[in-house]
């Protein structure tokens, strides 16, 4: 299996999903070799981790061990790649601020002979080869794992590991399952990075089978990438509850209500709609506190907008939160809002629900397909978002009903069920 990240080093839903999937697969008796990039060069990181005039301290990544369990074998591959690259991050990468590895040049020269690599390099000439060359280099290094190990299926997660998966397939002649957790159209709207789009399309067309995290994503793959729907299986994500189960109802203040946004502060997550809705709510309920937890390229703009609206007194930015801090913010919050513009799945509402927090989620999300007991909004409908935030804060009966029904609903959302469906896909590509 090729991934981007793994707990506790998680900056988005993909790491959480990979943990849930691998753990449940291991529980079913499967063995997983999991390859992930190990980000090189801490010194050079600030240009990638984009936090600017926000006055939020940049937290150094804790270098802890990975969470491992029986059946899982983690392989780290040195790389410059970071899972969630924003537009401005690409730009800084492309401005050549990436420290080049010797292997870089070597990889580039080697590539010319290879067919699939030259295809990729040709189509991605637009932005210059740096980023793509690095993906290719990572692919080859990661792919070499395939030469020394024995396995039955290759399972790759999202665009950065597509080439690694393809390379591994070439070497091993084993089938490749590509698991799509998010697409370039989700991350960037219509202003896609063509290189990444081409890599995605190449992988989607070439893989033996596709797993999409929602029907929403499946439909997007079919319509935007022109793939036969029969080649795509939908396996919804789930949530692990063991970590959170004993922290119910701690430290919730009764008079001061907290409304939470938690996620990368990027175009995809719709933070601007959260800020606008907050301003509307505060006109009616001036005592509410809004918290925007996370980091991302839109953060400076959000801070400016909060100041412009004059709601800074009730609006807080926490910066990027780590494991226990996330738990803490969940226990303090009264409502979780996910106004994503395009969310292939969206695990964090499920995490919030484990803490008995009602959630408002955008209809433009995969998780909306499996939740009946969440309030749903269109991300652009700021009035409706504000209206629903107020309803949650003012009608305790509504919260009680939602929380009660949610507990039932969560029982049927398990990684074990997702893993069973994944195994069905494995069996399909093996026969």
């Amino acid at each position: 299996m090729f991934g981007w990240e793994f707990p506790p080093h998680v900056s988005g839903g993909l790491g959480t999903a990979c943990f849930g999937i691998t753990k449940a697969l291991a529980g079913l008796g499967h063995k997983i070799i999991f390859a992930i990039p190990k980000v090189l060069g801490d010194a050079g990181q600030s240009h990638v981790e984009f936090i600017s005039a926000s006055e939020v301290p940049i937290k150094k990544k804790h270098r802890k061990e990975f969470k491992v369990f029986k059946g899982l074998d983690i392989r780290l591959i040195d790389s410059y790649l970071k899972p969630y690259l924003s537009k401005s991050q690409y730009e800084s990468l492309l401005r050549g601020r990436v420290v080049k590895l010797p292997a870089h040049e070597k990889a580039r020269s080697e590539m010319r002979e290879e067919t699939w690599e030259s295809v990729i390099l040709e189509i991605s000439a637009h932005y210059g080869p740096n980023l793509v060359a690095e993906v290719v280099r990572y692919a080859k290094v990661a792919g070499t794992i395939a030469e020394s190990q024995s396995f039955d299926v290759i399972h790759a997660h999202d665009w950065m590991t597509i080439l690694a998966g393809l390379y591994a397939r070439e070497v091993s002649k084993k089938p490749l399952v590509l698991h799509i957790h998010s697409l370039e159209f989700d991350r960037s709207g219509e202003h896609i990075n063509r290189d990444i789009f081409f890599i995605e399309r190449y992988g989607i067309v070439s893989a033996d089978h596709i797993i999409a995290v929602s029907h929403y994503t499946k439909n997007m793959i079919v319509s935007r990438y022109g793939v036969d729907p029969d080649k795509i299986s939908v396996v919804h994500n789930a949530v692990s509850r063991t970590e959170a189960s004993n922290i119910y109802h701690v430290g919730k203040s009764t008079d001061k209500k907290i409304v939470l946004f938690l996620g990368r502060i990027t175009f995809q997550k719709g933070p601007d709609y959260f800020v606008e809705a907050a301003a509307k709510v505060l006109k009616k309920l001036p005592e509410v506190t809004f918290v925007m937890a996370g980091a991302g390229d839109m953060m400076p703009r959000m801070i400016e907008r909060v100041a412009e609206l004059g709601i800074g007194k009730n609006f807080h930015f926490t910066g990027f939160l780590h494991g226990t801090e996330v738990e803490q913010i969940f226990t303090m919050s009264d409502l979780y809002v996910m106004p994503s513009v395009s969310e292939p799945f969206g695990i964090s509402p499920l995490e919030a629900m484990i803490y008995d927090i009602p959630v408002i989620i955008s209809r433009q999300s995969g998780v909306a397909e499996i939740l009946n007991h969440a309030l749903k909004v269109d991300f652009w409908d700021v009035d409706d978002i504000a209206n629903k935030i107020i309803a949650i804060l003012r009608y305790p009966v509504l919260v009680a009903e939602i929380v009660e029904k949610t507990r039932d609903e969560l029982r049927s959302i398990r990684w074990e069920y997702a893993a069973e469906k994944i195994v069905e896909v494995y069996e399909r590509v093996l026969h």
Binding site: K280, K284, N372, H373, L375, K376, D383, D384, A386, N387, K388, I390, A391, R394, Y395, V397, L398, A400, E401, I402, E404, K405, D408
Partner: protein, 398 residues
Amino acid sequence: MPSVCLHFHVHQPRWLKHYTFFDINHDHVYEDADRNLHILNKLSEKCYIPANNIMLKLIKKYKGNFRIAFSVTGILLDQFEKLRADVLDGFKRIADTGCAEFVNETYYHSLAFLFSAREFKEQVMLHKKKIKALFGQTPKTFRHTELMYDGNLTKIIEKMGYNVILARGADKVLGWRSPGHVYQPAGCKKLKLLFRNHRLSDDITVRFSDSKCTEYPLTAAKYAHWIHRINDIGDDVINLFMDYETLGEHQKKGTGIFAFIRELPREILKHAEFRFQTPSEVAGEYEPAAQLDLTNLISQADTERDLSAWLGNTLQKDAINTLYGMESKVRSRKDGRLLNTWRMLQASDHFYYMHTGWPADGDGQKDFNPYGSPYDAYINYMNIIDDFSGFLGKKRGV
């Protein structure tokens, strides 16, 4: 001589506006008038007008042998009067034939009986007056919203002078007994109970156009044959209670539903022993087969069993309790318009939309919900109640 008792319920929920928290204290008009007019016009064209025409023709054709019953809610009659006099005229012409009985219910399609005896009686009397004024009949048959019934209700209804109550057949009440007889609630002397024949009613309302059904397509001849079979088991009456909107709306014109209805009387009357009778006529004809104990069938405290779809969850209970909690305040204002608004908000439909049970039920029958989600329905309703409550608190004339 077995009787076929055909009863049509005629009602349309009135939609509320999309009403957000930001409308509170600004907007005191709660109904979506444009949408309601649109729906009324659509239903008039698709169902009410063609169905009324067919009924009138059938009544004339069979010279008194085709007899039916209607229950049209007061709030729909209001709309007909104001906006579709042509539809109302059709009902009046049917009433003039003397072959149709108009059945009494709560004017506002409410569940007031569970919350306020006074309000319940007032609404029943309002509807009674309306029927008298429009159709020249004094109703003797009663039907509660959602065909609900219990011991208390039947006692009160008998005291109010009714001879018959229409009811939803329930296994726990009927047990081994057939819905094909007339019954009497224990403790009543005059009032008779007619139970809906679910199987035969739903053959039309639910299964008529279901091509997966083994009996599809359903013809009038085939259906009449099923009806005639009851002669063998000694039943007296077949109560076919259905929504009038089944004709042309729930079952679209293209399904052949109108042709089916047009042919049905002929097919049923082919058997010389069968006839059509209205609920009052059925009750006058047959003695009760048994007295049934209906105590504690429903009560406000335990609504789970019969009314779970309307009052089963905390949202529904909170909303309806808040609404009826305003009664004395509403009445003290002595303002007809306020009283009317409060009553409009009592329609059972509003609470039905807050029903959260169905996604988990797995029966696959996802009912139509204009709000998309029970939580949205609750939020919208509570925002309106909030505004109404604030408005009530204000001084007159503001």
